[in-house]
């Protein structure tokens, strides 16, 4: 599904990713672990197409097509989604309106009939239930006045509604208490199926107790220094990152 090939990328003239290879097949969950500054967010940003990043070498393929020249919206419509580490607050932009616009953009792109307000509301209420969110979310402005946990839940609500095939969870666990973490993990686990893949980016092993990865990669200074199964995450928890840093 996703093939990152010998990727070198950076921002403001500084190289941050220094040759990353990552191959994710349908149905797999990959975790990328690393300290702050190791390049985790750069990796998620270049996959989703944030402006300002420069890819100097290598390629990113999604479903066998190079996507590095694609706009963020084209990538999203193709099925790539990111749950943001810091979801953006948008005063005056209604949450329902935003989510409905996103869903209808996708339906339209797929040649399907767009949903009217009533149809959309029915759909989104089911998703709200799954995440233990009440309908008051829908009346609010996007992320305005949301607590850290509410913002992350809102991200997952968007994921469940837009039904991406590749979901990137960028530090989804940061700023969450254990109850919120469980609700979110539960949402992700229910969403899992053999055709959907995840890239879970995290600093700590904590989230991986609830979202069990198939593969774990350790990112240090822009390179994967080790890859393994989920036991690698436990090893990291025990030993820290030092033993992998020369």
């Amino acid at each position: 599904m996703l093939n990152v090939k010998k990727l070198h990328a950076g921002i403001s003239g500084k190289e941050i990713l220094k040759g990353v290879d990552l191959s994710i097949s349908p149905g797999e969950i990959h975790a990328v672990m690393g300290r702050n500054g190791s390049g985790k967010s750069t990796l998620s940003n270049v996959i989703t197409g944030k402006e300002g990043y420069v890819i100097s070498k290598g390629d990113i393929e999604y479903k066998d097509e190079s996507i590095v020249e694609w706009s963020p919206e084209k990538r999203a419509l193709a099925g790539i989604f990111m749950s943001f580490q810091y979801p953006v607050v948008m005063p005056g932009v209604n949450n329902t309106y935003f989510l409905k616009a996103a869903l209808n953009s996708k339906l339209k792109n797929n040649g399907k009939k767009e949903l009217n307000a009533a149809e959309f509301l029915k759909l989104v209420k089911e998703k709200l239930n799954e995440l233990d969110m009440d309908t008051s979310y829908l009346q609010r402005a996007v992320n305005e006045g949301f607590s850290g946990g509410e913002k992350k839940r809102n991200e997952i609500l968007q994921m469940l509604t837009l039904e991406p095939e590749l979901a990137i969870m960028d530090e989804t666990d940061s700023g969450l208490d254990i109850d919120a973490l469980k609700i979110i993990a539960n949402g992700v686990n229910k969403y899992r199926n053999p055709s959907r893949s995840f890239l879970v980016i995290t600093h700590y092993q904590r989230l991986l107790r609830y979202i069990k990865p198939d593969f774990v990669h350790v990112l240090i200074d822009g390179k994967f220094v080790r890859s393994g199964g989920k036991e690698l995450a436990l090893e990291l928890e025990e030993k820290g990152y030092e033993w992998l840093e020369e």
Binding site: T48, G49, K50, E51, G52, S71, P72, E73, R75, A76, L77, F81, M82, F84, P87, V88, M90, P91, G92, V93, Y97, F98, A101, A102, S105, K106, N109, A141, Q158, L162
Partner: protein, 419 residues
Amino acid sequence: MPDYFKSEFVKITDRKYFAKEANSVRTKAFDNFIQQGLPNKKDENWRFTDISSIKKGSFRISEKKDAPNADYNISGHELDSLKTAVFFNGHFQESLSTLPKRLRVISNQEYMEQNDWALSQPTKSSFDLLNTAFMDSGVSIIVDKSIQINEPIRLLFICSGDEKLMTSPRIHVDVGESSFLSLFEHHVGDCNEYFFNQSVIVNIERNGRLDHIRLQNNSESTINMGNLHVKQQEDSTYDFVQFAFGGKLGRTDVNIDLCEEGANCFVKGLSLSDHKQHLDVNVVTNHYAPNCISGQSFKSILKDNSSGVFNGRVIVHAGAQKTDSSQSNKNLLLSKDALMNSNPQLEIYADDVKCSHGSSTGALESDALFYIRSRGIDQETATALLVHGFASEIIEVLKNHDIKDLVITYFNSWLEQKN
């Protein structure tokens, strides 16, 4: 000083529909105006306002022949469901107007006779003096004690024709004790070069309330100067919201005096400018009495080479203790060539007050754009979503659905316009 002022002034004093007494009021104002001259850029409040189109222009006063035909239909200006007073090129059109009986509408002549011709002649700026010197028929709207007029009354100002006209509407609004009036100024017209200089003089008695909406949607060659003066008595409320969309040069001066305890005022506005438009908002709120609350909240969205000004002043005079005042100006630049001058000011001469102010000007946040696009929404739609979000705070204050729908329609077509 442009010549046309003097020649037109001779003409205006020959007008028959005003009593002779008006001429002395006019002459006094005109003499003061000549003495004072038009503002120039050395004046702090006019530093960023280019009025060369007034100085270099040549306008004539509106005559009877500039009034509309008897079969003129106002439904082309939308909202004909609202009770409306029509002003066509400065002439009040009683036959086209529909006003509720509970409202007393009298001519300015009658009003000023009742007030010995002396009262309510603002002298704050040259444009006030000019309005007094040249005032057209206008009207005075009086809401007697304890009357609630909940449906908005529309004052429809139509600037029409290819003649270079100068009109000076004068509106007096007196809201009586414990009364309520909702007033909706609607500025429209397909005119060519045009100089519209209006004064609105408001007095709100004890416990009275005026909701005042001003929608300026003039043609792109119109100069619209709005001079507002509001005096508020004990426990009264003034709620003003302006939508300035049109005009070549649009400037609104709002002067509010909170004269007695417990008076509150909230003034808000949204300006949208494009091409070479210049839109200006100057608001002065004077706290003369204790325990008053005031708010100023203005936003501008600028495209192309357009420019704008926000000059906001809150003055808390000595003795106005327990004043609670807030002031905010936020501006969104959609073009690198657009220019906004924001100047929020606070002057406090009392020691037990709560005042806040703030200002921000910038482009759309790239993080927000990326966030929206990462959900599969194209850049153009993402921009529109954010601009709507920015404006919604002001648009949402509109309670009347017809007016709100009209504002949203104007707003959307402005946003969709390609340059």
